[in-house]
């Protein structure tokens, strides 16, 4: 479909004035650029999803099943019984409005229904009408409304204009988490066959082949082998990358984009270098060749179905514990859901770094460690040599990915890695980093081309903060630890701040890593490697891992 992409100037003037009509009377506008196409019926069928049919959001009639109201209301009742969070969040919002201008989609679009409080009211209004006394008696006066096809269309539009980033939940005095409400809304939509393709198809692929991209085992092996070859060309060092190796000590699980997309690929090279250099006894898995989990964006059941492979594969291969790569929502699942859903992982051992001997007590039940935790421990113990000057061609800032930030509290580990891998690191303004970080605007399965305008709007607050450090410090590289970020921040920055590129933290580590027997003249992207020309006299002053802190210029 030919689309005319909007211009930054147009999107930068946001009208925050709400309409004169009450929000209940404003119909949803299904406009190209702000929604996602419906699920491919074949893939939905493959996953045994209910009410599969051919339809599109642009159709007037969405061909809802005959008893759709019953399905939705029973589904809501069922979820109220399963989730205390839903009950509490439905009841206690006081509409103080603190969340309103915390949402990147509201800031970028000005659409009042993108205020987290109103997004929740979309569902709450239906809850009131059918589940509360006041709503039953007073109706609209109590903020209740009947469930109509228009409400469903509104849900479809706005529950797919939320990236489940949880920024609003940080500011809410009661911790109301819109992600939780969006997840329930999406489950209800899926129960009447209203899924989107960018979630359903990756989930189907992952279910079948083991990864979102649908790469079959031999293709997976080709990609890894190709990376090994290319790494040898760049560094002169031949690394090993075992796949499905039984009896390895550690299973490494990473998002599939790492071995098939750019700039993720350079992060993959970084992992391979690092694992070789420390002599890690590990294995990749072709069956669990996806750490990411688009099931999270679909339903808790789908999340569990896809996630089951990780523990199953760890058990089959007989590893001791699991190491996880750079990915945002993957870590939401691994940290907050995996052990509960598919645990207990009593067949694994408490993770211990075979290199430093550090016991990862904080992962003793789930038995899975984040690569940034693992690497910063290596650095702190002086087990790897890093030459910061090799990253002198970049001025780096760090984008906290939503899920590691607000669902894990992983803030200092990646910063520690970056501090030891490059000389020029600048933080973005404090309202836009750490727990207050802004989403890329394309997470939770809505990073599609057809949703381009909304993504650029939603990503605007993030891009604007990048612009700030770009203007002030000349920052030209945005580091992050999320596969969706690496896929969607480049187009976002090209739109708003074209001079800044995106990389993974382990790409920086890979570039800085001094390997035994290396002969390198370029960095992982094939650009001349700074510091190598002066290597002869620089070897003494190599910034090895001595725990030295780089002063952060904020």
């Amino acid at each position: 479909m030919a689309e005319s992409k909007p211009k930054p100037e147009k999107l930068a003037s946001v009208d925050y004035r709400p309409p004169s009509k009450s929000w209940m009377d404003v119909p949803p506008e299904i406009r190209l650029g702000t929604f996602n196409w419906a699920a491919n019926p074949a893939n939905a069928k493959y996953l045994d999803l209910p009410h599969v049919r051919k339809w599109q959001p642009t159709d007037e009639d969405w061909k809802l099943p005959d008893n759709w109201q019953q399905i939705v209301l029973e589904g809501l009742a069922d979820r109220l019984q399963k989730y205390r969070s839903l009950k509490v969040f439905m009841d206690i919002c006081v509409r103080c409005g603190a969340c309103a201008d915390k949402c990147h989609f509201f800031l970028g679009s000005g659409d009042p229904k993108n205020m987290p409080v109103l997004r929740a009211e979309l569902l709450r209004s239906v809850y009131r009408r059918d589940f509360t006394t006041a709503g039953k008696i007073l109706g609209k006066l109590a903020g209740a409304r009947p469930l109509t096809p228009q409400v469903i269309k509104e849900w479809f539009l706005y529950f797919y204009q939320c990236t489940e980033c949880r920024r609003c939940s940080v500011f809410c005095p009661y911790g109301i988490d819109t992600a939780e409400i969006t997840m329930m809304g999406r489950e209800l939509l899926n129960s009447i066959g209203l899924g989107i393709d960018w979630i359903t198809t990756p989930a189907a692929n992952c279910f079948r082949t083991g990864n979102h991209l649908g790469i079959q085992p031999h293709g997976f092996k080709d990609s890894i082998d190709f990376a090994v070859d290319e790494l040898e060309e760049i560094t002169g060092v031949r690394v090993e990358a075992p796949i499905n190796k039984k009896g390895a000590e550690i299973l490494f699980v990473s998002p599939s984009a790492d071995y098939f997309a750019s700039p993720h690929y350079y992060t993959l090279l970084g992992y391979l270098q690092l694992f070789h250099e420390i002599g890690l006894d590990y294995t990749w898995s072709a069956y669990a060749s996806e750490g990411g989990n688009f099931g999270l964006f679909h339903s808790s059941d789908m999340m569990k179905r896809l996630n089951a492979k990780v523990y199953a594969e760890a058990k089959r291969l007989g590893v001791k514990w699991i190491l996880g790569g750079e990915c945002g929502h993957m870590w939401r699942v691994l940290h907050q859901y995996m052990d509960t859903m598919n645990g207990p992982a009593d067949f694994l051992e408490q993770p211990v770094s075979p290199i430093t001997g550090t016991r990862f007590d904080h992962a003793r039940s789930t038995k899975m460690v984040h690569i940034c935790e693992f690497t910063s421990d290596l650095i702190a113990n002086g087990k790897i040599k890093l030459d910061k000057s090799r990253n002198d061609n970049v001025k780096v800032t760090f984008h906290d990915s939503c899920n590691p930030a607000r669902a894990m509290g992983l803030f200092d580990e990646p910063r520690y890695c970056i501090d030891h891998a490059c000389n020029h690191f600048y933080e973005m303004p404090e309202n836009t980093i750490r727990e207050q970080t802004f989403c890329c605007g394309s997470g939770s399965g809505i990073g599609t081309d057809e949703n381009f305008e909304m993504r650029m709007r939603g990503g605007f607050p993030r891009a604007n903060a990048v612009q700030y450090v770009h203007d002030k410090h000349g920052v030209n590289m945005l580091a992050c630890i999320c596969a969706i970020d690496k896929a969607t921040l480049p187009p976002l920055l090209e739109f708003w701040v074209p001079e800044v590129e995106v990389c993974g933290v382990h790409e920086l580590i890979g570039n800085a890593l001094i390997m035994k027997g290396e002969t390198r003249t370029t960095d992982l992207r094939g650009e001349p490697l700074p510091g190598v020309a002066e290597e002869a006299d620089a070897t003494d002053s190599v910034a090895a891992s001595d725990g030295e802190e780089v002063s952060k210029d904020v």
Binding site: A12, Y83, I92, A142, G143, P173, G175, K245, E435
Partner: protein, 335 residues
């Protein structure tokens, strides 16, 4: 419109009370039956609400982390923003309940030309919210002196502190002023902020008017010549809590308006957004530790789902794996 509706409802209740208490039946109803029923419904309603919530499990540990997690020994964990243990959770909840920690973070985003998004301080909401809740609590506790005999010393001390500046006679309670100022701010904010006005419901204005009327009637009784004989108020109040209802004759319309506003507030409480009083303690993003990888959280309804097992997967891809020289579990020719 919604604000006006709420105002009218409060006004009608006030009027009804004023008219009714000129009859002895009306005095008995508004002086004893209604307050008693209101207290009972409030208590039962709140417990019912909490039990309703508690009957649903917390299937997943979905803590919102607002600070550094506990990971490596040399990285400092922020136990109050990403609690690693129960003590941290207690601290986090205490900050939230007593000081509105999350609201304290509030900022106001503004889009300036450039385009430049700037984030300014917006702590007025925090300040007004905190001022309102704290002063209401102090006023509420001060009123216990009407319900108990003898009055405990700590209530007297609280009164004395509240009247610390000894302004006027009877001495002006600071909390009376703060409470009225705070709800006025909260009301004006709701009306004049376009976004907030857009998302507000009648149920957002109603408690403000109700509490406003409650406070104003109280202020009238203390600081103006419409003053009541407070020993009679105490007889009525103590009568309610000791199940010995009396309605002393000296009590006039202003007092009954005050009592009725309180009764309506109590009646309305368990069925409205005001249940956030109990709900804040039950919020799963705040009341759990961020120890997901340390202790397994159990989901009582963790039902089995259809998965794609390794065996099924290998069966499907055995040929290509074999051709690619990948390790196999079962090295057989697939059909």
């Amino acid at each position: 419109m919604k604000a006006l509706f709420s105002l009218v409802v409060v006004a009608v209740v006030v009027l009804l009370t004023v008219l009714a208490v000129s009859t002895s039946g009306g005095r008995t109803f508004f002086g004893t039956i209604l307050p008693f029923a209101a207290i009972a419904i409030f208590l039962v309603g709140m417990i019912y609400r909490v039990v309703y919530w508690a009957r649903s499990p917390v299937p997943f540990k979905i803590t919102t982390t607002c600070g550094q997690q506990q990971s490596l020994s040399w990285i400092k964990n922020n136990n109050l923003e990403a609690p690693r243990n129960f003590l941290g959770v207690l601290g986090r909840m205490a900050l939230e309940v007593f000081f509105f920690r999350s609201l304290f973070r509030n900022t106001k985003a503004e889009l300036k030309s450039g385009p430049r998004l700037v984030y300014g301080d917006a702590r007025w909401l925090w300040l007004a919210g905190l001022a309102f809740h704290w002063s209401f609590l102090v006023v509420f506790i001060r009123h216990f002196k009407f319900f108990v005999e003898p009055v405990p010393g700590w209530i007297s001390i609280m009164q004395e502190l509240d009247g610390f500046f000894q302004i006027g006679l009877p001495i002006f309670y600071i909390t009376d002023g703060i409470l009225l100022a705070a709800i006025t701010f909260l009301f004006l904010r709701r009306v004049f902020n376009p976004q907030l006005r857009y998302l507000s419901l009648a149920g957002d204005y109603f408690p403000l008017f109700l509490i406003g009327a409650l406070a104003i009637s109280g202020v009238i009784m203390r600081y103006t010549t419409l003053r009541v004989d407070i020993t009679d108020v105490k007889l009525l109040a103590t009568g309610i809590v000791t199940l010995n209802p009396v309605v002393p004759e000296s009590l006039g319309a202003v007092f009954f308006v005050h009592l009725t506003m309180l009764s309506v507030l109590l009646l309305y409480f368990p069925f409205s957004k005001l249940v956030h009083m109990a709900g804040v303690f039950m919020s799963p993003t705040r009341n759990m530790a961020n120890d997901n990888r340390v202790r397994r959280h159990v989901n009582p309804w963790n039902h089995p789902v259809k998965t794609h097992s390794y065996e099924e997967w290998e069966d499907e891809f055995r040929d290509v794996m074999k051709a690619a020289d990948m390790p196999l579990e079962k090295d057989v020719e697939s059909k």
